[in-house]
Symmetry: C2
Subunit: 344 residues, 2 copies
DNA sequence: GCAAAAATGATGCACGTACATCAGAACGGT
DNA sequence: ACCGTTCTGATGTACGTGCATCATTTTTGC
């Protein structure tokens, strides 16, 4: 049988109340006694039963997740996965509420954060660009004792407890090295597409991509980022124009999504499968394009993992428990047709 | 507040005992009453609190894992990760015992399996080649009500409940496509190294590799697998001999580990960084070789994930709970220097 | 050596469910 | 309407820990 607190008390020659005080770091215990209890714990190999502990605490966790109201495939999937992870975690007393804020309005987000019902929320995850207002809002949350984690895009200069996501610069480097090696030794040009030049993740990826290109593949010229503003028409227009006028273009690097418009355009130009095309995020269209050969590789982060990790980390932070770094690290995954995951 | 069984009883107009009978599918409840209770459950959105349930059941799980006694880096890491995952899971009443069996003796494994203390074990995971004896042993375990999962290498023709690992053929294809594209359009030869030609995973990888090579890269010739028997001396000998005599060799595909001897040999020949070298499993030596450029890419499965997944799946099976397929799928990961994970 | 302060003990309820027992109610068949 | 069977209710204990209260002991400061 597993030892319980009662066994510890007997072994250490103290009362149950004292063991409890030691276990929960409550005041009013002499150092000597603390040591005696800890030694008993070690001797018996006691491991606190979390299920019982949580039950007794009758603690439940409500995690608030703030996402921009952008309607990109990525955000939508993330929201869905968070909700799904939340419904599975309901059995462990974790509830998730996903909130959306106007993407371009940091003040609105800050207002939402300070309006969170203090007593009912035990953790906050947010995906937002770093602004002074947000920094203050996060400091306010932390002051109220709430753990805060940055999601997808880091907030390095704030007091966030943790970052859950990938290093986008490294992701860009990864895309770069694949592009460079796939293109080979001959001189070539690469088209770079981005929805918006302002998004931090896009900038970071581009920076990583260029870094590798300049260092390892001087024969490849990465052209200036073409902005599509998320519009299929714009994308088709700029891509067509570039490809018709620049025959040296042998690769396309898409910093974001927009696979449908891109593959369609390539198809129309009769170039499907003839260029090295690398993008980010494995959307359903990206899957199809990988399978057909229109898309060469996708750099992705596992969104389901992202969602589960968020809940686990927030919970661990709320409990002041340790985090399994290995489990929570989000990998920069390279997806080819050959290693396509079976499901989303 | 979350509804509890008491709320359900009140809502359905029945007693707590009846709700309990319905929840746990115990006999002695009329269909009509069952329906009434289930409707109340739906109306209130009741979710059974697993922590309380398990506590009350005072249920604990002992999972037995059977691994071959091979001393490869991979197996050792797997064993370590399983133990680690087990110590973390101890807080949730899960215990893990890792057993080793003589790699070449299926009868010994079968004997160990049938000797498992029936009442004290609630799940079995095993990594072993499929043999008739093993098939029978697994059938025996299942008959005793124990869930059985295959680990790393599948046992498709047995009654195992689940397989946790990657499709090695797809992993071989992934290595193949990287090799082919990295080598470019010029004719080239590829050296293929394997520790043993008998291991099922090795065979599958080789098959996947050849499949892609023949289909997509006819200009590349994959040479016959050179057997190293896990010996550094043999490896050095065969690799040196081949590389000196065959100047057309521009790539090396290592079906298993043995990175240290390989990079050392390449170094001696002054070929470090000049060939496309692709291998499997991210050992500490592989990390170093990736960082130095001696190794081009590694195809891996996340061993920590493997271990955690094993425990989660066994537990879910023991509880007859549903499995989150997305979370349990082990990915075929491509690791380059650019997307090296921070830790193991 | 005494009072005040600090440390410890004893105890009991709470958390949400599992499970067992026994009494009593509703049911179906004759 | 009677009986036996099948359902249902009422109740209590248990699981391992959290947490609070109050009594008691030990330590500390002077």
């Amino acid at each position: 049988m597993r030892p319980t607190v009662i066994d510890i008390a007997r072994e250490a020659g103290v009362s149950l109340a004292t063991v409890d005080r030691v276990l929960n770091a409550r005041p009013g215990v002499r150092d000597k006694t603390i040591r005696a209890v800890n030694e008993a714990i070690d001797r018996l190999g006691y491991v606190r039963d979390l299920t019982a502990a949580n039950l007794a605490r009758s603690r439940s966790y409500r995690m608030a997740v703030m996402l921009p109201d952008t309607e990109s495939q990525f955000i939508q999937t993330l929201a869905a996965e968070l909700t799904r992870a939340g419904s599975l975690a309901a059995a462990s007393r974790v509830e998730v509420s996903v909130h959306r804020f106007p993407a371009e309005d940091p003040h609105a987000l800050a207002a939402m954060l300070s309006a969170l019902p203090e007593a009912e929320v035990s953790g906050v995850a947010l995906m937002a660009p770093e602004t002074p207002v947000l920094r203050d809002a996060i400091r306010g949350l932390r002051a109220r004792g709430l753990p805060v984690v940055a999601l997808v895009s880091d907030l390095p200069n704030t007091e966030r407890d943790h970052f859950i996501g990938i290093d986008n610069r490294a992701a860009g480097r990864t895309a770069g090295v694949l592009m460079g090696r796939y293109l080979g030794r001959d001189p070539a040009q690469v088209l770079v597409l981005g929805e918006s030049l302002l998004a931090r993740d896009t900038i970071e990826r581009r920076r990583g991509f260029d870094e590798v290109m300049l260092r390892d593949f001087p024969q490849v010229e990465a052209l200036q980022t073409l902005e599509t503003h998320g519009s299929a028409t714009t994308l088709r227009q700029v891509v067509t124009e570039m490809l018709v006028n620049a025959p040296a273009v042998r690769g396309i690097y898409s910093l974001g999504g927009g696979y449908r418009a891109l593959t369609q355009t390539l198809d129309e130009l009769g170039l499907s499968g003839k260029l090295v095309v690398i993008g980010h995020e494995l959307t359903p269209h990206a899957r199809a394009a990988l399978e057909s050969g229109a898309l060469t590789a996708v750099i992705m982060q596992n969104i389901g993992h992202l969602a589960r990790s968020t809940l686990r980390v927030l919970r661990a932070k709320a409990d002041r428990a340790v985090i399994d770094a290995g489990q929570e690290q989000i990998r920069i995954e390279i997806v080819l047709r050959e290693n396509l995951p079976l499901s989303a």
